[in-house]
Symmetry: C2
């Protein structure tokens, strides 16, 4: 299955750069890169395999899901405008319904309604909940009639910038310090915009951690978050141990850290030597 989906995407001409599969979640995430038009073809090719092979009526896993192809975000790479990704999401969504008969909910920047911007909200309750509310006009899909594909469910299709997973570890064993700082900085309690934060214990290391998702690094980037946490910790008599940037970040986010950290607002992405050479500028 995992191989077949990856192969279909590759055969359509895209470059698969990451595949993560997880038995507990019973879920796979394929990350691929392609020119815009090709990205739609490759996503359709992958979705066709998933639609044919995965039956949600017999699918178990810890992660909430509403479709065999559960969620397809189009993420701009390098200098591509977000508007192009919104357009790709809509073209892919339209084809998912007309070609594979899978209803589609648009989310993120491709959302058609404000209450569908957040993926969590679109996907709440998963496949089973969607089945139970087929008549609810509020749950009607953006593509296709108010129904689900019998075995493949429905798909959330979106456009978004890359998320950044970022943690800051603090030199204390007092979990409450991490929880308090997480609360102080998270957007939902009036902290920094586009920041989700939780406090955790790293018991084996004698530290606590503020664990975050930065959902729009253009608004709140790593340096800003680091500085605020460092100051919040200091005011509680606690020092920062270190940061952890989990997985990849876009070059624009790295450039943004430099701009902020050394007060260089004019610094540009094409001042990175490799950007010029690799991107052929």
């Amino acid at each position: 299955m995992i191989t077949a989906i990856g192969d279909a995407i590759r055969a359509a001409g895209a470059r698969v750069i990451d595949v993560q599969a997880d038995a507990a979640h019973n879920r796979m995430v394929v990350t691929f890169v392609a020119e815009p038009d090709l990205a739609v073809e490759a996503a359709i090719a992958g979705a066709a395999v998933a639609t044919e092979r995965i039956d949600l009526r017999r699918h178990l896993g810890e992660h909430p899901r509403m479709g065999a192809t559960d969620v397809v975000p189009f993420v701009p790479f390098a200098d591509l405008p977000m508007s192009v990704c919104v357009d790709l999401a809509r073209r892919f969504g339209s084809r998912l319904w007309t070609e594979l008969r899978v209803p589609v909910y648009y989310y993120g920047e491709a959302a058609t309604r404000p209450d569908r911007r957040e993926l969590e909200r679109v996907r709440r309750g998963g496949f089973e909940d969607l089945l139970a509310h087929l008549g609810d006009p509020d749950r009607a899909p953006d593509e296709g009639p108010p129904t689900v594909h019998p075995s493949a469910g429905a798909t959330a299709v979106g456009a978004r910038i890359p998320l950044i997973a970022y943690n800051v570890n603090l030199k204390t064993t007092d979990l409450q310090v991490a929880k308090d700082i997480a609360k102080a900085i998270r957007a939902s309690s009036g902290g920094l915009p586009n920041v989700k934060a939780l406090g955790f214990e790293l018991a084996d290391r004698g530290l606590v951690q503020v664990s975050m998702n930065l959902t729009d690094y253009r608004v709140t980037n790593i340096w800003k978050v680091f500085s605020v946490i460092r100051d919040e910790a200091r005011s509680r008599g606690v020092d920062v141990d270190a940061s952890e940037i989990v997985g990849t970040i876009p070059l624009a986010a790295a450039v943004g850290v430099i701009k902020d950290a050394v007060i260089e607002p004019a610094f540009r992405m094409d001042q990175i030597l490799e950007k010029r050479v690799w991107a052929g500028e």
Copy 2:
């Protein structure tokens, strides 16, 4: 001339990414990228045109120079080890003498003697001074006999990492503050290693500037320099206005700023999304 040299380098298969020519200096700098073996061919192709067309006996310009092809540094790109660049420098130097009869002085990481590591020292006095000291055993070239090419002089051939030109502007009109801080941080007066620094006035902006070359960002990078200058300025009651990163910096230097600024020592270059995609990893 400028066109002919660039064309020869391109015809050899290299990609020219920058050409700077300056009438006052009467000098051009061509930056090109190529696979290692090709880089030697392209450099020979460019040097052949310069050797044929430039006659130092009739050449004037403000910049010190000792050869028609004055200096050829091989700079590692992305993950290429410096040892490869040293090898390329030696192969190019050997061919410059055997094929074009231009004597060669190795400098930087390719130097054969400690007193030839610094380009300024190798090139001191330029072509005319070299002519006047042909008999001095201390001035004997590394490739070729103790002489110069009659019209094309001699060439400094080296291997080095990219330099970073970096300035920090201070909110004061007191030039002495910039001069004092420059002195405090420059390597030659016992400050930060691999830092050259001068103090300047930016009279039209009501600021002063500490203007620097960071000759090895692996040892002393932008964040370290910024932090030390900020603290030195603070201790004199002066604030930093902003930084200026001049021209390009390698991705590794940008990654280094992030490591230091947010205390993320494990952050790796391949966590930059574009690096993975562009470099095909």
